[in-house]
Amino acid sequence: MNRAALLVLADGRFPAGGHAHSGGAEPAVAVGRIRDAESLEDFCRGRLHTAGLVAAALAAAAAAGHDPLALDTAADTRTPVAALRDTARKLGRQMMRAARATWPSAELDALAAARPRGAHQPVVLGVAARSAGLEPLDAAYAALYETVSGPATATVRLLSLDPFDATAVLARLVPELDRVAATATATARRVAEEGVDVLPAASAPLLDISAQQHATRPARLFAS
């Protein structure tokens, strides 16, 4: 176990561009679907079990050394909304830049060369975790923590929500985050035998619809 490397990778200040994204919280705040700590928690729980589970399994599989290009295609087939594919690749490109500077590796170089416009962020995250000497479970945790901490941080800014309340939301989600991380990692372990089709593909209609809507909104604080 390499705890310090995981802290570096999962730190909100890791320069991978995540601070410019709200994980769907901004459009949810705009229409009142997130209006307080309770609805933020519900939102994060929904995201954790859908987009979070998918991202964590992709990251864990990439960290285990499975073909990142096959995983990148699997991410495309699990992301029907064009705006979310664009966001995932943009974030992947930024994560790649940060990861290559932090933990240089031939695997990161190869993925960057094969996907110059950016691979899906969870795949890059997984390969970065691998380059940092981390395990698949670590990569799943990093993906899941970002899944919920992004919307929580953004909501503090968007709603002037008390940061103590937002952090308490994250703390309350910890047991579920543990369970989803275990599920994602267990599923990723089956990729060797069963291929990428075994990975989860959980969908979230409200995240999908509002992401596409948000992408065309002129006045927005966050890119997604």
Binding site: F43, G46, T73, A74, R78, T79, D197, P205, Q212
Partner: protein
């Protein structure tokens, strides 16, 4: 989460302890500028009725699905359009998932195979997930590179004034052997996070229309969002990573769901007609 994808049960059915096992099959073939149906075998709760053909399209209605699936049932429909054939499938009534004699889940799987220059239009009535029901549905769709598809699926979570049952679906679409779309959804009691503001919120009806059209390679549809009011039905039309587009909609009820799906579908038809002109 993954629906039971055990090998298809044999033709015919038994009504043992697990409930009804049935596999209904329809095959469409092109003959002399029309589509004929060399296989049209109902089974269990599924019966097929031939409707009047429209142009080169053979049309079939699934009847009698009203009382199924019940807990423990293993139901499957296989539809195949052979090269150049055009098959349109509807249903006479909504499919009502009920609890049945056990709390065990039922499966209701649909497998569509579309050959080159063939088309399937699968446009049934909604699935209603009644209180206490537990259904797993797997859609597996295999298309040849020049095949076309229109697929609509709608889920209404609970009948009027009752809580929903549990429904889990997985939709896997392959085109030319490669996965084009892979999607799972799980709603109702026991499904984590399903009624949160990230997934369905207060909405109790959700549906999709999947459009696969080789022409979209050249002229993909533009993304579009339809919102009736912020708190009411909403839909997104989005191009997939491939010659396909997906309309995803949510609404408070089945009526408003169908209305916004139809509106989004009309938009897509306008857009693709303009692109072809």
């Amino acid at each position: 989460m993954t629906p039971d994808t055990a090998p298809a049960p044999p033709a015919g059915r038994s009504t043992g302890a697990v409930g009804v096992r049935a596999t209904a099959r329809v095959t469409a073939a092109a003959r002399a500028g029309a589509t004929v149906l060399p296989v049209l075998d109902g089974d269990g709760p599924f019966e097929f009725r031939r409707l009047r053909s429209r142009d080169t399209e053979a049309r079939v209605c699934v009847v009698g699905a009203m009382s199924a699936p019940l807990g423990g049932d293993r139901l499957r429909i296989e539809a195949t359009a052979l090269q150049g054939a055009s098959l349109h499938i509807t249903s006479a009534a909504a499919t009502l998932a009920l609890r049945g004699p056990t709390t065990a889940h039922a499966t209701y799987d649909v497998h569509l195979t579309v050959a080159d220059h063939a088309e399937i239009r699968w446009l049934p009535k909604p699935l209603i997930s009644a209180a206490g029901s537990n259904l797993r549905q797997a859609w597996t769709i295999d298309l040849a590179p020049t095949a076309r598809l229109v697929l609509r699926e709608e889920q209404v979570l609970g009948r009027m004034g009752e809580p929903p049952g549990h429904v889990a679906t997985r939709l896997t679409v392959r085109r030319g052997g490669h996965v084009l779309l892979d999607q799972e959804a799980e709603y109702g009691p026991g499904a984590p996070g399903w009624d949160t503001p990230a997934v369905l919120g207060h909405h109790r009806a959700t549906g999709q229309i999947l459009l696969i059209e080789p022409d979209f390679d050249e002229s993909p549809l533009e993304p579009q969002v339809l919102i009736e009011t912020p708190d009411d039905a909403q839909a997104v039309l989005t191009p997939l990573a491939g010659p396909a587009a997906l309309i995803t909609a949510i609404a408070p009820d089945g009526f408003r769901l169908r209305r916004i799906l139809n509106a989004a579908y009309a938009t897509s038809a306008d857009t693709s007609n303009r692109a072809r002109q």
